[in-house]
């Protein structure tokens, strides 16, 4: 079964957008590998002919009528903003430069 190196753990933390301390990375390396060992049990089962179950109730394409309805009060929503500018959330810049 797969085993995670420290570099793998750092890569997954980057994918998950988690800033982790060296201590956290070291602890997670051990713990994640211990948990991955438990996953190995699933390899005992031949599942080639088994369809996956993503959810358990057979509801599909649930749509509501396309009717305009009142939205949430913008003031109540923006009250939670860490940083706002009028009726907008201030987001970190994603494009470099001035």
């Amino acid at each position: 079964m797969a085993s995670l190196t420290r570099a793998d753990v750092e890569h997954v933390a980057y994918l998950a957008r988690l800033g982790l301390t060296p201590d956290e990375l070291a602890r997670l390396e051990g713990q994640l590998n211990h948990i991955l060992d438990q996953y190995a049990k699933l390899a005992e089962l031949d599942t080639d002919a088994i369809p996956p179950t993503a959810q358990t109730i057979e509801l599909e394409n649930i749509l509501r009528d396309d009717v305009a309805r009142p939205s949430l009060d913008p003031e109540a929503v923006l009250a939670n903003a860490p940083e706002r500018d009028g009726d907008a959330f201030v987001v970190p810049a994603i494009l470099g430069g001035e």
Partner: protein, 525 residues
């Protein structure tokens, strides 16, 4: 001396309310006072909102008065929960109130709208007292993963109440509220109900709308009730269940009125068991389970048989694969759901790094606790390029096998399955914190039920070493009313059992204003 209203069951409160012997304000004030006075040693609550609760109580009293003026029919039309206090796990949105999900990353957030079930509870006239403690984002089996400190178990303040809905279960067991709402993704209602000696049900996936509930694993999460008896739990489920178009997974299946029609007579309740067919899955008696738990479950099975049920040993052969399957599917879904906590629109936010990525890393790295980080890491890995088929897709296929195990038994005509809820009684603080896999095993008997989307209820069935043991009843999809009848049947058949008279051992210690908090207790040893 006036009667202590907090000692009553919800349906007893409702009867006194209708008879004019008390008011919703009195009931609410009594529970608020008890919750404030006894929560130092328990820490079941994250917020108690006296003002809002009393205003809701006054509104309920006014509605009752108006109904009285309208005659007996108008009074009879009120829901059994009218005027009755209820607590919400702190992941249920109440407009204007905090909703932390037990996490620092949601500190300071105020919900801009009501959850569907909040609206339902208001509509039936229930009174919301406040919000209860939980493992962060409902990830945990002990409530020790709350960012705001753990909750204790009223049966032994050195022990955990179970989790993730630990505060919800402890508050009901400690008579701070007759009813509370929890959520169950892998056992988070049933396991704490078992460890605190109360009733807790996880309904069928799709039974209760999750609109306004903080999401953990969206193909597994379900909302359900806690109470000190089956009738109260059933009435609370009745109040919150039903289709809501704002949650596309909430199913258009009628809510059975039977849920509020359970027999009050113990003999009548027990007689329902006659001729019912119950299966006892042998795989649920796992190696290493507490011998006292196994003994109580065997006795409970014997009591069901004595009451006239037919009991057969059955097999759910893929049970042993449940844990690995769950710990792929749930973290995978969690890693996607928790991507929304980026510090931009609400909650904890760290800004000022060298670029946007630095801000995200800092916000999430400092906002999430260790268990949540572990699960996000597991889920991100299981979904990452090159591993999706080996982990996530494989787990979804094994999930099919787990579900088929249950389907085959219910297709063969079993009314319900009977099993332990948890292989252990309440464990000590810290006992399972060092090894996540040991903690995860606490849910070995509950998480297959979530994988299959089925309803399950945990009811008290005695004590092992002075600590409560939970009996789990599992039914086919949409069989909540039958499961509640079966649970009420067991309650009726064992109404005279001596253990039913035993109160949580450490209740009296909670009255001491200088009792250590759970966090102080852990730090001090």
């Amino acid at each position: 001396m006036a009667e202590d209203l907090t000692q009553l069951l919800a349906h007893e409160m409702a009867a006194r309310l209708r008879a004019g012997d008390t008011t919703s304000r009195e009931l609410t004030a009594a529970h608020l006072a008890r919750a404030h006075a006894t929560d130092r040693g328990l820490h079941a609550w994250l917020t108690i909102d006296d003002g809002r609760a009393l205003a809701e109580a006054d509104a309920a009293d006014a509605r009752l008065a108006a109904a009285r003026a309208g005659g007996t029919e108008a009074v009879a039309a009120l829901h059994p929960l009218h005027g009755i206090p209820v607590a919400l796990k702190d992941l249920v949105s109440v407009k204007g109130g905090q909703c932390t999900a037990g996490s620092r990353i949601l500190e300071g957030y105020r919900a801009p709208y009501d959850a569907h079930i909040t609206g339902r509870l208001h509509a039936v006239g229930a009174v919301i007292l406040g919000k209860t403690n939980m493992d962060e984002f409902a990830m945990g089996s002990s409530c020790e993963h709350s960012a705001f400190g753990p909750t204790a178990n009223p049966w032994d303040l050195e022990r955990v109440p179970g989790g993730s809905s630990g505060g919800a279960a402890a508050s009901v067991a400690a008579f701070q509220t007759p009813l509370s709402i929890g959520t169950d993704t892998g056992g988070s209602i049933r396991q704490p109900a078992a460890l605190c000696g109360i009733v807790g049900m996880k309904p069928t996936y799709g039974r209760v709308s999750r609109y306004g509930i903080v999401a953990f694993a969206s193909s597994l999460d379900q909302i359900g009730p806690f109470a000190r008896d089956v009738r109260d739990a059933s009435a609370l489920l009745h109040a919150v269940a039903g289709r809501d178009e704002r949650d596309s997974t909430s199913a258009p299946v009628p809510v059975p009125d039977d849920l509020v029609g359970l027999p009050s007579s113990d003999d009548e309740a027990a007689s329902w068991l006659r001729g019912r067919r119950l299966g006892v899955p042998r795989e649920y008696f796992v190696a290493g389970m507490d011998p006292g738990v196994e003994a109580r479950i065997r006795e409970a099975v014997a009591a069901l048989e004595a009451a006239g049920a037919t009991v057969e040993e059955v097999s759910l052969p893929h049970t042993d694969y449940g844990l690995a399957t769950y710990y792929i599917v749930a973290p995978a879904e969690a890693s996607a759901n928790l991507a929304r906590y980026d510090g931009v629109r609400f909650g904890h936010s760290v800004r000022g790094g060298e670029d946007y990525l630095a801000d995200y890393l800092a916000t999430r790295g400092s906002g999430f606790g260790p268990e949540v980080k572990r699960r996000i890491m597991l889920g991100t890995y299981a979904l990452s390029a090159g591993y999706y088929d080996a982990f996530y897709l494989k787990a979804l296929k094994v999930r099919t096998l787990i579900k088929r195990d249950f389907d085959q038994l219910f297709d063969a005509g079993f009314d319900a399955l009977v099993a332990p809820t948890s292989p252990d009684v309440a464990f000590r603080f810290g006992e399972k914190m060092a090894d996540p896999v040991r903690m995860y095993l606490s849910d070995a008997c509950t998480l297959p039920v979530n994988m299959a989307g089925l309803p399950g209820v945990s009811i008290p069935c005695g004590l092992s070493g002075g600590l409560p043991v939970g009996l789990q009843l599992i039914g086919p999809a949409w069989s909540e009313a039958t499961l509640m009848r079966a649970a009420r049947g067991y309650e009726g058949a064992t109404a005279d059992a001596a253990w039913r008279r035993v109160l949580p051992t450490d209740l009296a210690r909670l009255d001491d204003p200088a009792v250590p908090t759970p966090a102080e207790r852990i730090a001090g040893r």
